[in-house]
């Protein structure tokens, strides 16, 4: 069996009293695209910075390409490419100068650099702008150049920290295509952090969900979605009461009911069959319905079930059945991702369905 590309064992990082990463175990196979999904401040970037040798773990260890990130950082650096959260570029160089310098620092000879620059440019499609100063680039072009810089030395493992945050849909789709192409044609292992559900769903072979510095779930997107049932009925209502939730829970065929603000998620194995009973139950409970839709589960539903919050707005699900389990862990301040670890409590959310 080939050696895993990335392994972490209880890796953790503390800032003052806060644990940005509170003990994460991962094993990522060579050639895999692994999506690390979580909201802002969940600890994604801190984990990437530890695995990229920019930051030492407070405890635990990380192995990248078989080398310890704390004790063999030089070996790790030779084998990884990194595109951090904000495109890290020098505006006063041209794209070509930046790529050439990057190649020199990785020990590539002039002929190698020349060929590799052309190759990565074909992959990321910057066109003739490559000879212009980077300050003239759009956000999408900067992001693609950043990706090209991360690839210049043909790394075995690529870390992409929120590669499409802030990009328009067209640029985002272009980056996705480039990531897929890299993985399929080069066999590059890709560790991708994102706060976008679609991104993880679209790209990742497996997804790890991180909340408050801990891995709360892991699996293929389909596996994760199956944990919340097959269908979801989303009811937007004018006001949400406990009576509404109780009434919905009594509808035959309903597996689980989760309320958040003015929205109720009704999980059911056969959504179409319970659509009408759910509508009647809402009417019977005296609830004014704004909209009622049926859809298949998303990773946001998984995240909501596991943490009591939506992924992208971080809104607490104060009417979730699980809200009481998390009330002792208030959201940390921005930039301080997690409270001191109370290890082993996160996965208790499993099986908390109605």
């Amino acid at each position: 069996m080939p050696e895993p590309a990335i392994v972490t064992e209880d890796i953790a990082r503390q800032f003052g009293d806060f644990w940005a990463v509170a003990g994460v175990d991962l094993e990522i196979a060579a050639g895999e695209i692994y999506g690390f999904l979580g909201p802002n401040g969940a600890g994604k970037s801190t984990l990437v910075r530890m695995l990229c040798t920019l930051m030492r773990p407070t405890r635990g260890r990380g192995l990248v390409a078989g080398h310890d990130v704390a004790n063999e950082p030089e070996q790790v650096r030779l084998r990884i490419g990194v595109a951090l959260q904000d495109a890290a570029l020098d505006d006063r160089q041209t794209g070509r100068e930046l790529l050439d310098l990057q190649g020199r620092l990785y020990g590539l000879r002039r002929a190698e650099r020349s060929v590799r620059v052309e190759q990565v440019l074909r992959l990321v499609d910057i066109g003739s702008a490559i000879d212009r100063q980077i300050k003239t680039y759009s956000g999408g072009m900067k992001r693609r150049l950043d990706l090209a810089a991360a690839l210049i030395h043909d790394p075995d493992i690529l870390f992409l920290d929120e590669p499409t945050t802030g990009l328009d849909p067209e640029s985002r789709a272009a980056v996705w295509e480039e990531v897929r192409s890299l993985n399929e044609q080069h066999g590059t292992t890709i560790f991708l952090t994102t706060q976008y559900l679609e991104e993880a769903d679209e790209l990742a072979d497996r997804v790890g969900i991180i909340s408050r510095g801990r891995l709360v779930a892991e699996g293929t997107p389909d596996e994760l979605k199956r944990t919340v049932g097959t269908d979801v009925i989303v009811a937007r209502v004018e006001s949400l009461t406990d009576t509404t939730l109780q009434t919905l829970r009594s509808v035959p065929g309903v597996d689980e009911v989760v309320g958040a603000h003015q929205e109720v998620m009704v999980h059911a194995a056969n959504g179409a069959a319970v659509m009408s009973p759910v509508a009647l139950a809402l009417h019977d409970a005296g609830t004014t319905v704004v909209s009622l839709t049926l859809r298949t589960p998303t990773l946001d539903d998984v995240f909501l079930q596991l943490t009591g919050s939506h992924l992208q707005d971080g809104a607490p699900s104060d009417r979730s059945e699980r809200s009481s389990e998390h009330s002792e862990h208030p959201d940390p301040p921005a930039g301080e991702d997690a409270r001191a670890p109370d290890r082993g409590s996160d996965k208790s959310t499993k099986g908390a369905r109605t």
Partner: protein, 279 residues
Amino acid sequence: MVSTTNAPTTALRVQARPAGFFVDVASVAQRAIRQIPREPEAVIPALIVPIFFYVLNIGALSKITHQAAGFSFKSFELPVAVVFAVTGVSRASALVTDIQNGYFDRLVITPVRRLPLLLGLMTADLTLVMALAIPVVVVGLALGVRFHAGVLGIILFVVLSGIWGLVFTGLPYAIALKTGNPGAVNASFILFFPITFLSTTFVPKPYLQGWLGTVANYNPMTYILQGLRSLIVGGGGIPGPLQSWNPAYLGQAVLAIAAFGAISLSLALLALRGRVRRS
């Protein structure tokens, strides 16, 4: 080693490896030097200001000093103009920009050795301060300043000035690496004033009175100016014995630069170590 594969977009597979210390220094330096003409706003004042004050000072004070002390003020002031040109010119502000926008992290993630990240910038600084010193010297020569030490004296004059400019950069680099704050780096320019003005900047050492004379005795700038002046007029203290290539004056200048450099560069290296420690 270059190899070929059959994959459609992977005609060349390459193997990353450490580039070597000197290649690292040259790579970082080349990028920094390339940026200099792209930031004329940072370079042009460093050239114009010292020439402006040089011409202004000698225009205003030449007659007084000549009548009172009997020496050429334009010769006396040329080292000051060159020191003004080369002191405080560095890539420290650009380094802070790199730190703030994440490009420094991109460099640190590569296999580049840590020391060349600083030495490369300093190599660019040395190139720039030499380039700034030369036109100031040319202006001096055009205004009639004559070097008693000859052409070799002019070369040594530029080299000593350049090395002084280089060692001074240790301070702004230390601040840049320690704080990552552009305001703090700009404020480091304040250090320029006591070092350059609490010295024999405008009058010879024998004329410095009271506390200023005492402070000047401990200021390395006094000995640097003395050594540089000795290459022009022979007697670095002016008035004094005219002697080109005065070994005592030149030796004291070199020692002053070395002592200052030992402190400033140590601070910069400590700050670099702190910045890349991965704490």
